[in-house]
């Protein structure tokens, strides 16, 4: 944030990203019926915010059901080690996944 930002301005809910780069997050464990954009294999796993994606985008999973059309949400590029995703993963411990996750699927740890 630039230092000459004017003080006293209250931001509306959702205007600012909730999470920041480097923060550890958990992907929530929920199983709503239908096609959602947080794949099951990452639910309940922990990751680190690698980037805040700009600009915020229409939450396509809601839009797909005709809800929230045009409503934008923050989303993030999240890093998860493959060895955390898959017990007994056979490759290097450095191998990792990068995936975009919308804010409504992320929880603070």
């Amino acid at each position: 944030m630039k230092s000459d930002t004017l003080p006293g301005i209250v931001k509306a809910d959702g205007e600012q990203p909730v999470f920041s780069v480097g923060e550890r997050v958990a992907i929530s464990v929920r199983f709503p019926v239908g096609h959602y954009r947080a794949p099951q294999y990452i639910r309940g796993k922990n990751g680190v915010i690698e980037a805040v994606m700009e600009p915020p985008a229409v939450n396509n999973e809601e839009e797909g059901f005709g809800r929230n059309a045009g409503r934008k949400r923050h989303y993030y590029r999240v890093a998860i080690p493959l060895s955390d995703l898959w017990p007994g993963y056979g490759g290097s411990v450095a191998d990792g996944l990068r995936i975009e996750v919308y804010e409504n699927w992320l929880e603070r740890i």
């Binding site: 096609h35 954009r37 947080a38 794949p39 294999y41 994606m53 985008a57 229409v58 396509n60 989303y75 590029r77 493959l82 995703l85 898959w86 993963y89 056979g90 490759g91 290097s92 450095a94 191998d95 990792g96 996944l97 990068r98 995936i99 975009e100 996750v101 919308y102």
Partner: protein, 209 residues
């Protein structure tokens, strides 16, 4: 009367599937109601047909020869491609993932078939099918080996799974021994598979003199 044999043309007479019928019904209904014109559909097919891996190859070659372009491409893939006239008709963003000696990138869409279509065109069939989608995130090294790409243990593999409005393009490593090659010659080396990350690029004999 002619007497030679007519070999029957062997077109399998398969009934259209559920989704195919739904798509046709939806398309015809939308056109009938005047919401879209058949010409618009044809136009969109022309848009898609104009996007091929050769386009992505030119982007990669430019990045190899022009360090400033490379920096802009890695900072914002979409705006750098737009400099070359590549439009993002689907309003997706583009992240360009640079392969280095220490990191090898691989792209997948586990949920469907998200793909950097504005830059590469339509994805190959295997990219859309479940074995690749499931295994690329589960055992990427084995998948890569099946493409003939063996990544050393000390090289980190990063699998990027597209789920939202971001598409990925891999910037492969420039092969050794190509220092004197022109941008046009380099572009001929760059394959679709290398830009997905299932292959690397070896210097071959020059194709252009």
């Amino acid at each position: 009367m002619h007497s030679h044999d007519h070999t029957p043309i062997n077109v399998p007479d398969v009934e259209p599937g559920y989704y195919e019928i739904m798509e046709t019904a939806m398309r015809e209904l939308l056109a009938e109601k005047g919401l879209i014109q058949p010409a618009e559909i044809r136009r969109q097919i022309e848009v898609l047909d104009s996007r091929t891996p050769q386009l992505g190859a030119k982007v990669v070659a430019r990045a190899w020869v022009d360090p400033d372009f490379r920096a802009r491409l890695l900072a914002n893939g979409r705006s750098a491609c737009e400099e070359l006239g590549i439009t993002f008709y689907d309003d997706t963003q583009l992240i360009v993932l640079e392969n280095t000696r220490d990191i090898h990138n691989l792209i997948v869409c586990t949920l469907c078939s998200c793909y950097p279509r504005p830059v590469l065109g339509l994805p190959p069939d295997w990219y859309k099918q479940k074995p690749y989608r499931a295994r690329a995130v589960r055992e990427p090294r084995n998948v890569l080996a099946e493409f003939g790409t063996v990544i050393p243990e000390d090289v980190e593999i990063r699998v990027s799974d597209s789920t939202a409005m971001v598409r990925y393009l891999v910037l492969p490593q420039r092969p050794n021994g190509t220092d004197t090659w022109s941008e046009e010659e380099l572009a001929l080396l760059v394959t679709r598979d290398a830009m997905i990350g299932v292959a690397t690029i070896e210097a071959q004999e020059r194709k252009v003199q």
